[in-house]
């Protein structure tokens, strides 16, 4: 990440605090979030693959 981008990010975020909590539950396997990811996947699959800037959406294996 460029240092200029880092500076801009810090300006945007201001005094907002994010604390890493190693004991916090990982919610990635929650049924709700898995369902939302499946919905997003389906939505992207149905969408046109070419974006306005010329880049292309490509499906991959995770």
């Amino acid at each position: 990440m460029s240092s200029q981008f880092s500076k801009e990010m810090e300006k945007l975020k201001g005094k907002w605090k994010v604390t890493v909590d190693k004991t916090m539950k990982d919610f990635s396997k929650e049924a709700f979030f898995l369902k939302k990811a499946a919905m997003a996947n389906e939505s992207l699959a149905k969408s046109k693959k070419e974006l306005p800037n010329g880049l292309v959406l490509t499906r991959i294996e995770l």
Partner: protein
């Protein structure tokens, strides 16, 4: 963009965030999660942003709850800042956003629209309309959004 927002806790991998919404309905635990999706934009990984309330009785996420805790803008600003944090930690990623209902998608749209000038200084925002992607503009009801670093 020095908005009022809630401080958050995050997991070591930075894929889940949590914070407490405080208002007339009490203290509500909010959960935000970022899930990698099997899609790339060019070489940029697409991840899905999802958000819900933690139900302490069922020990699961409430899908359709509308908490009405009189802090909508503060909650939206907090979600936006977790997205900035996630993108800052993970480098080149594109964030996909789609509410579980059209009403929830419109809430995200209002949040993007309210801070569009600041967001677009650093990020490209596209909205999906009838399967096509367009540069984000006010006055459309988009079905989903893609946001990534310029």
């Amino acid at each position: 963009m020095h908005l009022e927002k809630y401080d958050c806790q995050t997991t070591a991998d930075g894929e889940s965030f949590t914070f407490e919404s405080v208002g007339p309905k009490g203290v509500i635990r909010k959960i935000i999660n970022y899930q990698p999706l099997p899609w790339l934009i060019g070489s940029i990984q697409v991840v899905n942003l999802a958000f819900g309330d933690w139900n302490f009785e069922t020990r699961s996420i409430d899908e359709l709850v509308v908490s009405n805790n009189s802090d909508r803008d503060k909650v939206l600003a907090t979600i936006a800042f977790t997205a900035l944090d996630y993108m800052a930690q993970n480098g080149k990623v594109a964030i996909h956003i789609k509410g579980i209902t059209p009403a929830k998608t419109r809430l995200y749209q209002m949040g993007i629209n309210a801070h569009r000038a600041e967001i677009e200084q650093l990020y490209i925002v596209y909205g999906q309309l009838e399967e096509e992607w367009h540069p984000f503009e006010s006055g459309h009801n988009y079905e989903s959004f893609l946001i990534f670093k310029k």
